[in-house]
Amino acid sequence: MRQRSILTLVLLVAVFIAAGSYFSVFNPITNHLKYGLDLRGGVAATYQAEPRPGEPVDSKTMAKAIQILSFRINKLGVTEPVIQQVGKNRISVQLPGVKNQEQALKFLGETAQLEIKSPTGKVLLTGADLSNAVGSIQQGQYGVSLTFDSKGAAIFQAATTKYLGKTLPIYLNGKLVEAPQVQQAITGGKAFMSGNFTSLKQAQNTALLLQSGALPVPLKRISLVTVSATLGHQSIVASERAAAIAIVLIGLAMIFWYRLAGLLADIALGVYAFLLVGALWAVHATITIPGIAGIILSMGMAVDANVIIFSRVREEMVNGKTPRAAIEVGFRNAIRAIMDSNATTFISAIILFFLGSGDVKGFALTLMIGIIISLFTAVILTRAFIRLAADAGWARIRAVFVG
């Protein structure tokens, strides 16, 4: 019995240490974690729909706006962008790794509202009637070649027939761009718009905006965050260092207070840290700076349960129970208190999760997952360790536990 316990305990600890060093050295998890903008560098913005009077914003409008933004972001060639609706009338956009941040954002929020009007001012065609738009040069002029869809082409043909010899003014974003005279009826559904573009790039941008369609509602940028890759890297280094120091300090404190039991709790804490990071990877959580704060904070909280249990066990020992009996009674009595005390932190985390914005949610999620995992490592795992240690006879010397 005794030898088997020693063997099992030593084996278990060896397995955990081996696994721990494998994870720390080869880093199979942290390399696959998804890091947020604040750690990777990039740009994030929040847009708010500012509806024109009489045109309320509904979920359809928002979906359309998101679709258009996605199209434009695609054209920017950003890898792993995040575009999502926040609340009722906001869209948050995250573009990791974008170099020309300001220009990219300007492009996103821009509208290109094309209108071709009759000489009497009636709107005949809009950007919605286009099937394609391409930036091009015609007769030495930069411009946008417009192609209408079949319905648009029919209207265009009818209009050019009806207003032959008159002008059909073209408006972009409500501003008159040009007012060409109709020379002949146009049947192919093609037109060339020569705005006052100063470069082909500018004409191409406008063409892209026309291609993506006009935003169904004007978007106002209400927040902007840009982070350079250097700063992101510095933050990762700083938080890794903080996590390492925190775990060492907590580990030393536990050994100082609870000796052998503290050491076993430290091993359980190591297991906790790996399980937590693994769980965050499994739920595809994005790791951000507040998320890391959550991880570090939760390591301090994870040993809470151990402290509660060990204090209780020590108390029972002082009251004259045998080590094995003290361990059983201590664990049993402590679990109720642990459950009740973790519950309030969990309640706060749930509220934060549902009310908080993006990165605050990450913190709350880390806290919730951490509480659940710590119940396993601090109660079940540590109990297994300590029972084995007690059977092995190590905890028989009261001083080991009582300190």
Partner: protein
């Protein structure tokens, strides 16, 4: 282990001490005021790193040209190369214009920017208030179900004092606040309740084993002495983690770590010295009333 402190006997002293700290904290909150950052007020903050040493005056001159003289410029580090410029809310165009003019000071790299509209700030405050109310109600319900109403109210009183003290000290130190500050306050709401629950749990357990004619005061005192070491130890581990975060975790989390650190510290104090005496005084009053009226109106 032979430690025997009389927590209850000096309850008036603890209450006076707490009142003094609370008054200082309230002075901090209402007179000195919290140092709200752009997350709350709206505005633009730019972190620029220049290729050579510069002066804040040079940066201020550029700001003054754009009529942004109410902005603040803070040097980061000792090399005088990196500055944090905070301006009131400016438009996209104004920002690029300003960044263009900054080149006159020296060539620079834009390390980070954050721009927040004041709409978001107002919303942040509203959401935070809602979260605090929800958390308070949820915790009161939880403790009432698991323990009793008196514990819930005593716990919440201690919790509110804890939060006021922590926030007051944050105001006095005048750290610039971000949305993470709210995250910290809400976490305190949940976490600093842990301590009180451990205390209440022990009081509840000891009440079951209460000997005949043993006064409730003694039960409470015994319970507090039993959990004292544990209480200090658990707070210490969390405070160690927070201290590491405060010193090494970078500037963006400073307000979070500091607020939490203070919250955990005051939380431990109020658990031991406020929550239990409040509960005890209430319980003794109820007991006295029951003795005076042998037939209570409420059948509980």
């Amino acid at each position: 282990m032979s430690l025997k402190l009389d927590f209850i006997k000096h309850w008036k002293l603890w209450f006076i001490l707490s009142a003094v700290v609370t008054v200082i904290a309230l002075y901090g909150i209402f007179v000195r005021g919290l140092n709200y950052g752009i997350d709350f007020t709206g505005g633009t903050q730019m972190n620029l790193k220049f290729s050579h040493a510069i002066t804040t005056q040079a940066v201020n001159r550029v700001l003054a040209q754009d009529h942004l003289s109410q902005s603040t410029v803070v040097m980061i580090g000792t090399a005088h190369r990196q500055v944090l410029v905070t301006t009131p809310t400016i438009s996209v165009g104004q920002r690029s214009q300003l960044l263009g003019k900054m080149k006159a000071v020296g060539s620079y790299q834009e390390i980070s920017t954050s721009q927040v509209s004041s709409i978001i700030g107002q919303q942040t405050e509203r959401t935070a208030l809602l979260a605090v109310i929800l958390a308070t109600v949820a915790i009161i319900i939880y403790i009432t179900v698991r323990f009793e109403f008196r514990f819930a109210v005593a716990g919440i009183i201690a919790l509110l004092l804890d939060v006021i003290m922590a926030v007051g000290m944050v105001a006095l130190i005048h750290v610039v606040l971000t949305t993470y500050f709210i995250m910290a306050v809400l976490t305190i709401f949940g976490y600093s309740m842990n301590d009180r629950i451990i205390v209440f749990d022990r009081i509840r357990e000891n009440l079951h084993r209460q000997k005949k004619n043993e006064p409730v005061q003694d039960v409470v005192n015994r319970s507090l002495n039993q959990v004292l070491i544990r209480s200090i130890n658990t707070s210490t581990t969390v405070m160690l983690a927070l201290a590491a975060l405060l010193v090494l975790g970078g500037a963006s989390l400073r307000d979070f770590s500091l607020t939490m650190l203070l919250g955990v510290f005051f939380g431990t104090f109020t658990s031991l010295f406020i929550a239990s005496p409040v509960w005890l005084l209430w319980r003794l009053r109820d007991d006295a009333r029951r003795k005076a009226n042998p037939k209570p109106v409420r059948a509980d």
